[in-house]
Subunit: 362 residues, 2 copies
């Protein structure tokens, strides 16, 4: 009984970093008894080019049936003028929505060996280890009405709607509180309740569920603008941050950049727990498709490799294998190998493939 | 013929930092022939306590009739549970909306003497001088429908609507392009067009007006999540950033924190140009009401003082007086005086009043 894994490499650097994961899978099958039934499919611009859509319904169905999805990245400037429904990005948005992958876990963790790569002073970013829990199937990303309408005088109006319901807020708050209990037991909930009613409801519902079910966890609230400032001023004040789709998009990118190692950071997006404790889950690097460096063999494969480690740990219950990979990555960094994105003086610059092989050797 | 100035100190540290501006006004009246007809009014929690509303209609009318408004800050935790219409913040939101103050200019400028106060490495933040032009009367701050509704099953839904029209986007883009021409001639327009149609329209309209009227200015586009990252990675890549209300709120706070001197940064919010070249304008520090340090006499008055300098320059056409103040502030910093927020080793810590008087002496 092999685990069903769906691999969606996507666009840009996606396929080349995914190749390095394939090597590790191969090695683990041979040496660690890992049994995977792997299906690969096209998504994003790659799928648009062949099938005319960013993701086919069959692929969504495959994702639903699989034990886990390993995702690369989507996005391609060549498709940016083709129309809103034909954005490569629709692939990831649809996957999240259709599989109800509502909780995106985005760690911003400093790798000690990479402290020089951060734009922040060492004393500010030292030891950074925070987790952003971002809601991913609600908010302004999916609310109706939406669109662009032409007015009688020929001018236009663009409209989007932010909507959050009690239950949508509750379930993502639970994920954050549960996580905090395994960490430093602190949650900071972020919204813009001084301007938006959806944020006001967000704050009330989080406060409520905290009182009812999680009063042992320390809860604080912060406005999104202040949170952006505090992440720069003193990121170590945070343990777990929970927030909506749009703020989470911005703040998690910001948080990961603080570590100076965007190319290093994995993420997991989880769906509801179903029968037998099963839940759909998708794993992807935080970085995007990086079209500017795609195909050059210089992309950092470590975020994709660490995403696979997260997948082993959380979806396949193979924590030891995940440890193996994470330790290998640490050792490779300690040995001084660096791709361009995390390069600093005195280190050895390598490409995608050499980095992947170094991890494998470890 | 004195200039009509409306002073709205507001809440928290607002009144105490405004007092230091009053000293400067007094001095300038005596020594520089500055003629001001000053009216002071309550806004925010201060107005709620006395009048039961965050801002009275008469005060809005006064603001409309004045040559400029000098605003302090609003916000008070004591009023945060009283109801959405009774937020102190309504004062500033209403002023912006009713006076059509659509373009908020937020400089993020590093004061060389304060480079140590930044969380960023000196080489990253060195020489930083960017300007964020934030749209302030549209977007999700004001769109309808909005509110919290209770569903038949007792659960609730929070709703807000983001709306932007062609003309709203055009006029703020023009402000940004005009500013860029006086600076480094580069504008970066920021939205989230891969997810939001309002962002797609934003991008199209900015592109369009650039082609028609400003093709001499260099224009680029960036997604909001990427912009947050780039502001940390390499803020010096930017000259003028133009963006919507919500992204502008977050990104401008982030940008100002990069300088390490939030307590130093002023802002101007401009309305449409009317007959005789007149336009309504409001000047306020970027920092908020800071209730935690209010009344302690330790707040930094320099952002409020520099907001007054901006007012002299842009609304009263008294550039020389503005220069005088700005030079005085530089000199005071160079002499080593610091309030707590910008303190660094070896400098002399002073309170609000001593800082204000030091500027006056200069
Ligand atoms: C590709 C894009 C639609 C996506 C998002 O905005 O959610 C990305 O930025 C992310 O954060 O995963
Ligand atoms: C006080 C608040 C309503 C306001 C805003 O969100 O616009 C503030 O954060 C600002 O940026 O001026």
């Amino acid at each position: 009984d092999a685990h069903k894994l769906l691999v969606l490499a996507g666009d840009g650097i996606g396929p080349e970093v995914m190749r390095e994961v394939a090597r590790i899978v191969h090695w683990m099958s041979a040496h660690r008894g890992l049994k995977l039934e792997i299906t690969e499919e096209l998504v994003g611009a790659a799928s648009l080019a062949v099938h005319g859509v960013p993701i086919r319904d069959e692929v969504i169905e495959l994702a639903r049936q699989s034990d886990a999805v390993l995702f690369g990245s989507v996005g391609d400037p060549a498709w940016s003028h083709v129309g809103f429904d034909k954005r490569p990005e629709v692939a990831i948005l649809k996957l999240r929505k259709e599989l109800e992958l509502f909780a995106n876990l985005r760690p911003a963790k400093l790798f000690d060996a990479l402290i020089d790569a951060s734009a922040l002073k060492a004393e500010v970013v030292h030891g950074l280890d925070l987790m952003i829990v971002r809601e991913t199937v609600g908010g302004i990303y999916f609310g109706e009405p939406r669109g662009i309408e032409t007015l009688p005088d020929g001018s236009r109006r663009g409209i989007n709607t932010e909507v959050y319901t009690t239950s949508e807020i509750e379930r993502v708050a639970r994920v954050a509180f549960d996580l905090a209990r395994k960490r430093d037991n602190r949650v900071c909930s972020v919204e813009k309740c001084n301007v938006m009613e959806s944020g006001l409801l967000w704050k009330e519902v989080v406060t409520d569920i905290h009182k009812r079910e999680y009063s042992d966890v320390q809860l604080s609230h912060m406005l999104a603008d202040n949170c952006a400032m505090q992440l720069v001023r003193d990121p170590n004040q945070f343990d777990v941050i929970v927030t909506g789709n749009l703020f989470g998009d911005i703040l998690s990118d910001l948080a990961s950049m603080l570590t100076g190692s965007l190319g290093m950071l994995p993420s997991a997006t989880l769906g509801p727990v179903r029968a037998y404790g099963k839940r759909n889950a998708l794993y992807e690097p935080i970085h995007g498709s990086a079209p500017d460096i795609a195909g050059k063999g210089i992309a950092n494969p470590l975020a994709q490799i660490l995403s696979f480690a997260m997948l082993l740990r959380y979806s396949l219950n193979r924590g030891e294998d995940a440890d193996l990979i994470e330790t290998a990555v640490s050792n490779v960094l300690a040995s001084g190998l660096r791709t361009g994105d995390i390069m600093s003086p005195g280190m050895a610059r390598v490409g995608t493939e050499m980095m992947g092989q170094a991890v494998l050797r470890e």
